[in-house]
């Protein structure tokens, strides 16, 4: 019985491979990505469209569930020489890959395969995160986002606030009035959101997280968070938390900050613009909301926020034919139709000026449910500063985890802010020095 079953399974599998590859001449290559659920299905649609649009190449798209898994599996595969041609790597994994000599720079790939891409067309804030310090783009920007703040407009109206708060002191004022008006949870806060509450704060205020332009000009950068404006900001967050104006919401507490917002329990939250679409779908009956650029401290000039999300890297060790396929795929992604389709079905933003202009001209941003997403692009294209190119720090996932712990220890265990951030810097420096030693003799591109 069992052998019969195995036999038929084997036959079915063989039959499937024959059916699945009608054009035997097409060059197959793999693309691994770290998204799941709805987003994964959209990528499968994208791959299908690409395969149907031409007959020379066949892309095989494999979901690895999440960014971390995809990074780990890609590394394991690369070490066993079984790597995919294209892989999607998130911001915190960028530097290791950059120093690894395991990839083909996207600019070189496109040139060698005869594609002319206008690299200046990419938003500076997007391109700089994935470029060398001299501005050469190493990976293909793919799913890009940035942080936004979301307000419940009914709650704003109820406390009589005209327009949208643009500074943190206005947020404090609004939150206090909301509390007085009987809202239990004015602002939903999750320390795990260090990306929006800490990193993006540093970016738009052009505050350094580390020296040397956040590590862009050398592996010997040092952490300087405890010497900057974030000390005041975290002190303020602690004050707001103690007054019950910021309320802790997380997966562990039973409800995430975003869920609390769409359910109308909390009136303000901060999250990625990629959640704009999700909020639109999930917002409870009667919950009206809007998004805005992150608030500023009084008296600061706004700079560009960091791009979030991930980019596509082409890995070494593949055949020339496979590289041709990868280049064709990138070229396909850069077409205006694909750019618009991808931004429409996901919350991610277009990454090129022309793509954005075309969508704007077509009236994409004029009405719900897409109205408001243009603010993310506005935020990304603000004037650049020394500390707004991105974060080029080694083992950054560990440093980010340390920041989450730091915020938690200030909020929950009353550790003094200055002391907590000094410890954070010290810890971060240890991680950076270790990283520097691991890559001894290598230089940043």
């Amino acid at each position: 019985m069992k052998s019969n079953w195995l036999l038929s399974a084997a036959l079915a599998a063989t039959a499937l491979t024959f059916v699945a590859s009608p054009a035997a001449a097409a060059t197959k290559f793999e693309f691994w990505y770290g998204l799941s659920g709805d987003l994964s299905e959209r990528i499968q649609d994208m791959c299908k469209t690409f395969n149907e649009s031409q007959s020379d190449y066949e892309i095989v798209c494999v979901s690895q569930d999440n960014y971390d898994n995809n990074l780990q599996n890609t590394i394991a595969a690369f070490r066993a020489n079984k790597q995919p041609t294209v892989t999607q790597i998130f911001d915190a994994g960028t530097l290791d890959l950059m120093l690894s000599d395991a990839f083909v720079p996207v600019r070189q790939l496109m040139e060698e395969n005869g594609y002319k891409i206008d690299w200046a067309n990419y938003f500076a804030g997007v391109g700089s995160y994935y470029s060398t310090s001299t501005g050469e783009l190493l990976s293909m920007p793919f799913n890009s986002s940035t942080a936004q703040i979301y307000y419940n407009t009914d709650a704003l109206a109820k406390v009589g606030f005209e327009g949208i708060p643009e500074t943190w002191s206005q947020v404090e004022d609004v939150a206090r009035k909301m509390k007085a008006a009987g809202y239990d949870c004015p602002v939903a806060f999750d320390p795990a959101g260090a990306w929006q509450w800490f990193e993006q704060f540093e970016a738009i205020h052009n505050q350094p997280i580390a020296t040397l332009g956040n590590g862009f000009s050398g592996l010997n950068a040092e952490m300087v968070v405890s010497k900057g404006k974030f000390v005041d900001q975290l002190t303020w967050i602690k004050k707001m938390y103690d007054e019950g104006l910021f309320v802790h919401k997380s997966k562990d507490a039973g409800e995430t900050a975003n869920d609390a917002f769409v359910n109308g329990k909390c009136q303000i939250t901060s999250s990625s613009v990629a959640d704009h679409g999700t909020f639109g779908k999930q917002a409870k009956e009667g919950v009206h909301w809007t998004n805005a650029m992150l608030p500023m401290l009084d008296g600061f000039e706004r700079h560009n926020s960091f791009v979030g999300g991930a980019s596509l890297w082409t890995l070494k060790g593949k055949s020339a034919e496979e590289y041709k396929g990868a280049a064709a795929f990138y070229n396909f992604l850069a077409t205006p139709e694909q750019t618009q389709w991808w931004s429409t079905v996901t919350g991610y933003i277009p990454v090129t000026n022309s793509g954005f202009e075309a969508m704007k001209a077509a009236g994409f941003y004029d009405a719900a449910p897409y109205k408001g997403r243009e603010l993310a692009i506005k935020s990304l294209t603000m004037p650049a500063g020394e500390n707004t190119r991105g974060i080029r720090l080694g083992n950054y996932a560990s440093i980010r985890a340390e920041m989450v712990k730091t915020i938690q220890s200030v909020l929950f265990n009353n550790v003094p802010v200055q002391q907590a951030l000094e410890e954070f810097d010290a810890k971060g420096n240890e991680i950076l020095r270790r990283f520097e030693a691991t890559y001894a003799g290598k230089n940043l591109l």
């Binding site: 971390d68 990074l71 780990q72 590394i75 690369f78 070490r79 994994g93 290791d96 890959l97 120093l99 690894s100 000599d101 395991a102 802790h248 997380s250 562990d252 507490a253 039973g254 409800e255 083992n395 996932a397 560990s398 985890a401 989450v404 712990k405 938690q408 220890s409 909020l411 929950f412 265990n413 240890e430 991680i431 270790r434 990283f435 030693a437 691991t438 890559y439 001894a440």
Partner: protein
């Protein structure tokens, strides 16, 4: 006379052993050697290079205050979860052994938790203990803020330990019950005739007689709490809040797979391995002497 079977040709036993040997070599010794090598060098995650650094990785983790925190936390976790799990299992087994009403049903029911995978149990317990919505969380409606594993590290650690202990109860129970039922009835009955109450018979008669089983379970539970706690913690707390549920095995995972510090993680796993080996050795050397097998 002892009877023995001999193989005429020398390679036959090796051939029969081969599948097992290959498995052990490939899945245990080979990765361990790799980890050992990484622990003494700095390994680049993408495999671009490797520099020998001697004991630097070990010195770095021993200098780290947070690392010692995870060591102490692991020890606490091991002792409390083992103690809790074995005590509850023994109590249940003692009751079932006394053939109280409904014993047959309980005998099967108590084993069930062991069949549940740790991450699945973790998800269930996370909901039960969630401060805002869970079953246990409802105490917050009577006394606000009394239970909050999301912000209070002690609560979070207690939650994980309780879940771990609960998962082990079934396994411990079955072993204890089997051991209790192996004891000849006459011994217990003799004790009863001399006027010993059930509790006293448990302490004075049954416990010493099941000591080998208890010893075996002690080792198994301690080792399991050092290594199997990962699945639970990853699902329930991810080491938080403020890293207060970060045990040794979780830190290894985080530093290695998320932080991409392969060498630091390798050094930590070597330390953990030595610790588990040492613990087992100590137990066999000293604790076992006090256990009588006959």
């Amino acid at each position: 006379m002892e009877r023995r079977a001999y193989y005429r040709n020398g390679w036959m036993p090796w051939l029969l052993l081969a599948p097992q040997l290959i498995l052990v070599l490939v899945f245990f010794y080979w990765p361990t050697t790799q980890a050992l090598y990484w622990a003494f060098s700095l390994e680049q995650p993408w495999g671009g290079g490797n520099t020998w650094v001697g004991f630097d990785n070990f010195l770095a983790i021993f200098r780290d205050r947070e690392y010692w925190g995870t060591v102490l936390r692991s020890a606490f976790y091991a002792i409390v979860s083992t103690g809790l799990s074995m005590a509850v299992a023994l109590t249940l087994a003692a009751f079932v052994d006394r053939s109280l009403k409904g014993t047959r049903i309980f005998q099967s029911i108590y084993v069930w938790p062991y069949a549940i995978a740790a991450p699945a149990a973790g998800v269930a317990f996370r909901f039960i203990f969630a401060p805002e919505s869970g079953l246990i969380g409802s105490v917050n409606q009577i006394w606000p803020g009394i239970w909050d594993p999301a912000t209070n590290g002690i609560h979070a650690l207690a939650m994980v330990i309780v879940c771990h202990a609960w998962l082990g109860i079934g396994y411990n129970f079955i072993f204890f019950l089997a051991a209790l039922q192996m004891i000849p009835r006459s011994i217990s009955e003799a004790g009863a005739m001399d006027g010993a109450r059930p509790f006293q018979r448990l302490i004075d008669l049954q416990l010493p007689l099941i000591a080998p089983t208890a010893f075996f379970l002690l080792i198994m539970n301690l080792i399991s709490s050092f290594t199997d706690s990962f699945g639970l913690i990853d699902v329930m707390t991810e080491g938080g809040p403020i890293g207060q549920t970060e045990v040794m095995v979780y830190k290894i995972y985080f530093d290695g797979f998320k932080g991409l510090d392969y060498s630091g993680a390798a050094a930590q796993s070597i330390v953990l391995m030595l610790l588990v080996i040492g613990l087992t050795f100590v137990q066999f050397k000293w604790v076992e002497r006090r256990v009588h097998y006959n």
